[in-house]
Amino acid sequence: MTTVMSRDLLDMSAPYVAPTTELEVRLADLWGAKLGVWPIGVHDDFFELGGDSLLAADLQLDIDQALGIEADIATLFLAPTVAELAEVVGALLPAPAAG
């Protein structure tokens, strides 16, 4: 993505909540890079942020590669927020969990 759109220009249903844990920050960065939107709130819906199903599939493979784990893909499609994803992904990461 060459241009980045401000989140303020989107009609989001959830108020902005900044990522706090290291994992949330990493995931939000991956989302932002894929969507070209900044900043990404942890309760923001991927599809409300302008994402579509093709981008979600692309993003999942980015996440796989960046984190070196394979989380259940259903989360990104059916509960598509950074917070939900961090929970699912975090459970798979080695013990000294991020954050």
Partner: protein
């Protein structure tokens, strides 16, 4: 409501036998008809064409009509994120370069390779789903597509029932049997996202361990020197699954709904030489995918000559045109006695698989599955009679059945 004012975007129309009278009236009196709509994004309405010649032209003339702005009525006025990535939503010339390798993998040679497996699969589903007594043909037939698509995409048989259910949510979202409590939009969204999640998982696994299947092919093939992005591969898997699971079962269903309890069944069943031409007639008769939509790229004039002389309609750039395949396939200008099921009909240039560059990729496999099905059905039952009222699906796209109770009289009677 008369034919002149019928809402062609009403899912009740395809659920009713009125559709033929409506299409027939339009073909004769208003073959290029504008229908205004509200709440469809930036679209104010859509044109409908019902004559064979116009339907054929609109589907085949990709220079004048794009597939990249939605190809089904439920996408009217909304941007299609799959445009340029999914075969059905990509125009030539890129479409042709994407399609060539997939078409080779799904062509006649592939159909021959699958023939024995499909025959076994069909035999199994008939043996399990039917018996000497009453049976509902719809759940039996719903298993037919995955006999072909399962191996094609390398999907385990255990997943097939769930895939068929999700596909029905995406294609017949208006039907109460498939609709979720949240309504039409929620049903479409859930079905769509679950299938995308499913195929994303498949894609992840195949990128690690490629196989001989079409998912692996989509992942590894080069188009214009580049691999497909994962989202594009997933979108194409989704489209291949839907293209087959949604439509195929309704070809035998429509034929059986018509032939059951009539001499027509035996008239075809006793003539093995008519298997191929009868399958084509069943395709024409059923036309499960009842429309495809295109959007004009430039001004296009469509003319016709009726009792009031020649009229011309100008379609403006950006306007949607819906080509009603179901209407075209009953056009008396092309098919003699169009409302008669004639298994010997020849020629039979039906448009059930579409026309032009987007002609159904799965046509070879569909014909293989249909021939196997009818051959096995005819070997199993001497006659088939109705055992209750058939119920049709509510949809703007799918012309099909959700209940078709039948009784079959087995050909070889079991000892009692």
């Amino acid at each position: 409501m008369t034919a002149a004012t019928t809402d062609l975007a009403d899912p009740g129309l395809l659920a009713s036998d009125r559709r033929f009278a409506v299409w027939d009236w339009l073909r004769r009196h208003d073959p290029v008809r504008w229908q205004p709509v509200t709440g469809a994004g930036d679209a104010r309405g859509f044109w409908s064409v019902t004559r064979y010649s116009d339907v054929d032209r609109i589907l085949a003339d990709h220079a004048a009509f794009t597939s990249e702005r939605g190809t089904l009525l439920n996408l009217l006025g909304r941007p299609d994120p799959a445009a340029g990535h999914q075969l059905a939503a990509t125009d030539p010339p890129r479409h042709d370069r994407m399609r060539a390798p997939v078409q080779r993998a799904m062509g006649a040679a592939c159909a021959r390779r699958y023939a024995a497996g499909v025959r076994d699969g069909v035999r199994r589903l008939l043996a399990e789903g039917t018996g000497a007594g009453e049976f509902d043909a719809v759940p039996v037939l719903s298993k037919l597509p995955l006999v072909v698509v399962g191996p094609l995409l390398g999907l385990p048989a255990a997943d097939w029932p769930e895939l068929a259910r999700l596909a029905a949510m995406c294609a017949a979202e208006d039907d109460p049997d498939y609709q979720l409590p949240g309504g039409v939009a929620a049903t479409l969204q859930r079905g769509h996202r679950e299938l995308f999640a499913y195929f994303s998982t498949v894609v992840r696994q195949r990128s690690r361990t490629p196989g001989e299947d079409v998912v692996s092919l989509l992942l590894t093939m080069d188009v214009d020197g580049e691999r497909q992005r994962p989202g594009a591969v997933v979108a194409n898997c989704y489209s291949l699954l839907l293209g087959a699971t949604v439509t195929l079962p309704h070809v035998p269903a429509a034929a059986l709904a018509h032939l059951a309890g009539t001499a027509g069944y035996a008239g075809w069943a006793e003539r093995p030489d008519l298997l191929d031409s009868g399958v084509e007639e069943a395709l024409r008769w059923a036309t499960p995918g009842s429309h495809f939509m295109r959007v004009a790229r430039r001004p296009v004039e469509l003319s016709w000559t009726g009792p009031a002389g020649t009229r011309t309609v100008r379609v403006e750039p950006g306007e949607a045109v819906v080509a009603w395949l179901g209407a075209a396939n009953r056009d008396p200008a092309v098919f003699a006695r169009p409302d008669e099921f004639d298994p010997a009909r020849s020629p039979n240039r039906h448009l059930a698989f579409g026309s032009g560059r987007h002609y159904c990729l799965g046509s070879h496999l569909a014909r293989l599955a249909l021939k196997a099905f009818f051959a096995e059905l005819f070997a199993t039952f001497v006659t088939v009679t109705p055992a209750g009222r058939p119920v049709r699906v509510r949809s703007t796209f799918l012309s099909g059945f959700k209940r078709l109770p039948l009784t079959g009289q087995p050909r070889r009677r079991e000892r009692t």
